[in-house]
Assembly symmetry: C2
Homo-oligomer: 426 residues x 2
Amino acid sequence: MRSSPRSFDFEADSSHAAAPPTAANGRLHVPERWAARRLLAALGDPPLRFILPNGVPVTSGAAPPVATLRMKQPGVLLGLLVNPGLHFGEAYTDGRLEIEGDLRRVLEILFHAPEARPGLGNDLARLRQGFARNSLRRARHDIESHYDLGNDFYALWLDPEMAYSCAYFPTQNASLEAAQLAKFEHVCRKLRLRRGERVVEAGCGWGSLALHMARHYGVTVTAFNISSEQIQWARDRARREGLAGQVEFVADDYRNLRGKYDAFVSVGMLEHVGRANYGSLGDVIDACLTCTGRGLLHSIGRSRPRPMNAWIGKRIFPGAYIPSLREMLLVIEPWGLCPLDVEDLRWHYVKTLEHWLERFEKHAELVAHRFDASFVRAWRLYLASSIAAFECGSVQLFQILFARPGYAGAWTRAEWYTPPADARRA
Amino acid sequence: MRSSPRSFDFEADSSHAAAPPTAANGRLHVPERWAARRLLAALGDPPLRFILPNGVPVTSGAAPPVATLRMKQPGVLLGLLVNPGLHFGEAYTDGRLEIEGDLRRVLEILFHAPEARPGLGNDLARLRQGFARNSLRRARHDIESHYDLGNDFYALWLDPEMAYSCAYFPTQNASLEAAQLAKFEHVCRKLRLRRGERVVEAGCGWGSLALHMARHYGVTVTAFNISSEQIQWARDRARREGLAGQVEFVADDYRNLRGKYDAFVSVGMLEHVGRANYGSLGDVIDACLTCTGRGLLHSIGRSRPRPMNAWIGKRIFPGAYIPSLREMLLVIEPWGLCPLDVEDLRWHYVKTLEHWLERFEKHAELVAHRFDASFVRAWRLYLASSIAAFECGSVQLFQILFARPGYAGAWTRAEWYTPPADARRA
């Protein structure tokens, strides 16, 4: 149905005309509908319906819509046209954009959209990220803004170990608790830890991996973290569990790490290091590893280099950068450290995030009470969009095992998949 | 013992003075000894003894020598000083340099030597390799010079499947025969081949992997190779084994590959592709894979970029280049193909080569009769130096599994290490 001959031949949605424009706004919505159709076209005509602030629905007409994006203020559409990566999150968070339908499904559709021509925004973001030096002071500020939201907040939806990184699900129906412990085991087996060895961990979170290594493998661990809330929690736990003599939690930046170690491990920190600092991280690793040392990097990665999503970079993880595998290898290749094993655990992160989102939603009211409604919406969007990003392959989770040339690792990886002797006896 | 006050303070070996210089050559050997000592110093004073053409022994004196390098002509020492990577092989091959002791041990010592400052030779080699376009015609010439030495020559020392690439030893004492079959299985499991799928293989050697896939996984395979001797052998075998309807052996370059496939596989070809052609290889892979396709690259690699050894590049594998893992990823990253798994099988190549060298030595007389003594020496050096290079970590063997973002692979890699159902029943 053409609403008017002056519609520039861009049609509004004709199949959902239950709320037709009134005569009063008839003149105003023509450019908005035109812009909304442009946006849909740029997204590859997805099965989504926009509802403009004046109540006019717009679809591409290509497929029946599976969800509705209701724009409650005129600026939302402009924001989505100019910088969708930033303004989708901004408008959703403050409630100017409502999703009617399954948020995750909407995000999956948007993530599968054809890649927009990299605009000036993207180029600037890439440039900024490429040169971001993440000074010690800046890094501390960025980390505290996310990780020091309160241990009790994270305790609401993480597992009891407070493992805030991709879990490893031996089977798809394993619990989150079991999968986080299995991740610790997977990392320890890859590193082939032996009693009495010295391990250094860069970015230890709440310390659960370090404590697991000490308890089950008899190693000593020096664990670094610049989040003061996390370190305090980890130290308390080590004391409570009688492991304080074996695990030292250091409230400092990994760049201040000194000494010699048999193994280096870093789970979920590289994302915060910044591409410009991979050389310094490599220097630190090279300086701290013995001549038969080995290490493991566990980090979100990409199949090819891309700038961070602008909203995630602004609101959730300031200073973060997600590298491609080639970029990650810049941490080890210049020092002649040999890559022994790379594993993509992308689907395990989908499942981890599903658990987190489900737990988070159970406590959404409590979170809203402690923070506010927009905080809940921001975190819901962050978790749901992360699920969608891993699911469509826009991001991956890489574990890279590497070693000095003089290290002789497992003969085959089969031993990583064999239950330990005590479990076999059970 | 100073042999003379005019020795410039560089001492000849004093502990092996059984063959002292005669008065007649007393004047000549001073600069040679000086040069030999310079060479030993550049190599980090290894436990090796040189014997100069005039019979004068030279060691660094730092450690008792474990082997002797006897130079039978004056030019040998000069060659080793100017371009050791080339002239060690040249002189050993034509007998101007004799090794008294364990060749492999000598090579390991030399490979562990401190890296020489990259000289002009290395820079030129790197430059040439970076731009080597390996045209279709050139590639055919290079491949034929190595792989068309005669199938009966390779049959002397390869396994019965004629698998001329790194085997996979489930246990260290597995036979070479078992380990080559295990390699085929390992590749097929990683690719999760399913009955009726279409596989394309680039660089299929004597065709044994393609035939294994067809026989055991019920797939159809189109296998490319530009070595005419190998293709003929493979076609004959396919006919003999009733697999000609399932496996098509194409005597052509991988760059002429057309059609759509569920899986791409290439074992031991990337070494011959040349870094400048990784983009074309990526183009071919991207064009041939379905939207849920996956692939596997199996290739010798390095922990960091280095030019080829000059002698190997000249005499054994003209046109070859051994990439670092970052360089290998240039084949897949620009196309957004996701790396799912990387495995380093460096120690498996040590073992494979040990088997090959042992079998080769058993038939050395036959080989010398068919070719000549210098051919035997060249191949002995090629196999022994490869063992030493893998052993000291100067080269690796990488298997890279990659896939379209839309491909859902194994939930965990545990299934690659579980015996198939029929084996479990047995």
